[in-house]
């Protein structure tokens, strides 16, 4: 029988969007977060039950998605400090979709701990941002057993069926995490090189709006160049995604590459650039603020 009682743990931008999409899809939706505010918002949106610790209603659940920030938080909500995490209370066989961005080694370790409790895991990082999460149009890059995909289908349909996509990247835990990591490698380097190119154009005295126009109509374009350099042109570094997110994500790229014994010359350089930007005080600004570490240039001011 198809699952009906689903829970999203971690109700930030992505998690709240996922939970609301589950409600819209007609699933009995539960939610957990440490923020009272977030719990209240989800309750008003139609959640069945909300709690700070999903262990409270774990025996009612048929599927769980963990959408906290990183592996450490995932470990905390799942296993807790004294075996008080939700994983110890779930019925055996309940599938757990772990959707935070983390290294492959962390994904494998969580998979093993869940397996020991009889809980199948989908290693299922997501992307798309808050707007797509709200629309039920997430992209999910997942690895796991075919039957785990099958059982989770109603929840996967709810969060991605409205224009998103679910990629099955293999059986082993860690593969889903790695696909996201490789994607973040590209995203991070593309932002850093966009900054490098625009900074060089500024130094050369090229009008930046013209440079932007040329690149976005030519083969040198990237999704990130087009999106992030628009912030630089406006001089607006309000964080949509912050510099420190890429310090974290390129850190995970580095860890994963180390575990794979593999060189990443460009990503290593981009990691240094974002780390330097963070140390310069731009950690909480938009990730395009990495351009501010290039000295000797004048950038557009906010109007």
């Amino acid at each position: 029988m198809a699952i009906k009682n689903v829970c999203v743990i971690g109700l930030g931008t992505m998690g709240m969007g996922a939970a609301k999409s589950c409600i819209k899809a007609g699933l009995n939706t539960y939610g957990a977060d440490i923020s009272d505010k977030a719990l209240e918002v989800l309750k008003e949106a139609g959640a069945v039950k909300v709690a700070k610790n999903a262990a409270e209603f774990a025996d009612e659940l048929e599927a769980v998605q963990v959408l906290v920030v990183n592996a450490a938080q995932a470990n905390t909500v799942l296993f807790g400090a004294n075996e008080d995490g939700v994983a110890y209370k779930l019925k055996a066989g309940t599938p757990v979709m772990v959707s935070c961005t983390m290294g492959a080694a962390d994904a494998k370790a969580i998979d093993e701990k869940l397996a020991a409790l009889g809980l199948p895991m989908l290693d299922a990082p997501v992307s798309g941002g808050g707007v797509k999460a709200n629309a039920g149009a997430m992209t999910v890059m997942a690895s796991g057993k075919p039957e785990t995909f099958e059982v989770l289908k109603p929840m996967l349909d709810a969060i991605s069926g409205n224009g998103g996509k679910v990629y099955n990247v293999g059986v082993e835990a860690g593969l889903g995490a790695t696909v996201k990591i490789v994607h973040q490698l590209l995203a991070g380097v593309h932002i850093a090189v966009a900054a490098e190119a625009m900074a060089m154009a500024a130094k050369a005295g090229i009008p930046l709006d013209t440079m932007y126009d040329v690149v976005t109509h030519a083969a040198g374009n990237s999704w990130m160049f087009e999106n992030r350099m628009a912030h630089v042109l406006k001089g607006d570094y309000t964080p949509l995604s912050a510099v420190d997110i890429f310090v974290k994500d390129l850190g995970l790229v580095t860890e994963t590459a180390k575990a794979l014994h593999f060189p990443i010359p460009l990503a290593s350089t981009a990691y240094s650039m974002f780390t330097n930007a963070s140390n310069a005080g731009y950690g909480r600004e938009d990730d395009s603020a990495v351009i501010k570490t290039f000295a000797g240039i004048t950038l557009p001011e906010k109007q």
Copy 2:
């Protein structure tokens, strides 16, 4: 009075396309190249006159576009070894559009030599590839005096008016060259990081076609990733644009950055990657062959 007699010097893929576009636009088109074959092709396409050295009919010309490979060749066709280049034979005031990819210093030096002969220059690199050149849909990134743009308008319309675009990036010679250089910085790094990411995915055991599918539908995409990694998936390294082109272009990026006294951490790394690929014997393969320098992975074979 609008110019009518125009000449394209350098009838390779881009130059031949430009010359044919001028013929299609109803201009009296002249052509010059060291290849008899190229001259024959253009004559049959309707050129008024063709020659190995455009100096032969220079007194008939009202505009010239130089579309040879680099600054050294541009200097040769314009100035020759013993003042036998076309520049010495052009009527004073004849505009010269120099469209090869070169460093800003080279563009400025050519501008000065042309100015000394009373010839205004448009520093006007182009992009778009052979198909767009043939269609009269080139992108032109040009700097020069407003009146030089004005006089050259019929020729600019012919080569870019059919879906391309002419960018006016300023007055000074060197700015057009630099815009192209900054564009090539992005293009080169995007190819190199696409290779790095796909190589890491291969090492991790992720199916490369799935990785490609994820990236091309997400924020980590770039024009180059989408275009070049398709070659890697097919195992087809037939050169559309070769590794050695990016050794050259990222070399120009490096020279320009040095002249600007500006750091280019990512482009410097990408330059090393392409140079290493060239030394490994892949110089004449498709530029995506830079992925072959990553050891310890298995890449798709050509079917």
